[in-house]
């Protein structure tokens, strides 16, 4: 999978804060291009975040999430070097994924 995601996971005390940016147009299907043609709807629908392969956050998104979606979430109980992964699928069936190890802050 191409580099479509940036991730960071930092453990402070008992809480791991994960930040994610996904490159994606999140087109609503209502906007026109420079030639007056409607840009077809294209957006991420399902996103799953896992900690060591166990789901921690499962998301359904609509077109109202901004372009290049940004997300912060927090997990209790993760340790340094635990693996956090994010997988997504959009309305055209395209997928993306990324993972990162938890770092001490």
């Amino acid at each position: 999978m191409e580099a479509n995601m940036k991730m960071r996971a930092k453990l402070t005390g008992y809480i791991t804060e994960v930040k994610v940016i996904i490159s994606h147009p999140m087109d609503t299907g209502r906007k026109k291009d420079d030639f007056g043609q409607l840009i077809p709807v294209h957006f991420i629908q399902l996103v799953t975040a896992t900690l060591n392969d166990k789901p921690v956050l499962e998301m359904q998104w609509g077109t109202g999430i901004s372009k290049n979606p940004y997300l912060t979430f927090r997990i209790k109980g993760a340790k340094v070097n635990d693996k956090i992964a994010v997988n997504w699928v959009d309305n055209l069936g395209k997928t993306g994924s990324g993972d990162i190890l938890v770092m001490a802050s």
């Binding site: 499962e58 998301m59 609509g62 109202g64 999430i65 912060t72 979430f73 209790k76 109980g77 993760a78």
Partner: protein
Amino acid sequence: MQRREFLKLLTGAIAAIMLPINALAAVWNKAAFEANKLADAEKGLAVDSETSSKEIEIIAPDRAENGAIVQIEITSRIPNTESISVLVEHNPTVLIGNFVFSNGALPYLVTRIKMAETSDIKIIVKAGDSYFTASKNVVVLENGCG
């Protein structure tokens, strides 16, 4: 092969592909996400009755210059929060996203949303069989839903 059987096979294949990413989450809630009225979106989310709660904190700007990117931070202090739904009442489609927490994830999120015009952001928290809500109004100076 009959068309019907082929379609059945195809559906099965798609379901199998979707399974890893989608093992616990329900499939994408089309009815709720395509709703253009708040009441219809909530119906799609199966929210029957709701209680306003001060235990939901919404941090969002009072005024947004550009509705294309409005950052919101949501915290639920309601015990046993299972999910947080984000809705924008005056958007062409009301439901922005649904976030389901498990295995140690805290009922907290930051994300960036589109707002077509000045509107309330409505948060719905599901805890057990109950739904709790809070709202925050954001004045939008430039439409972000093109």
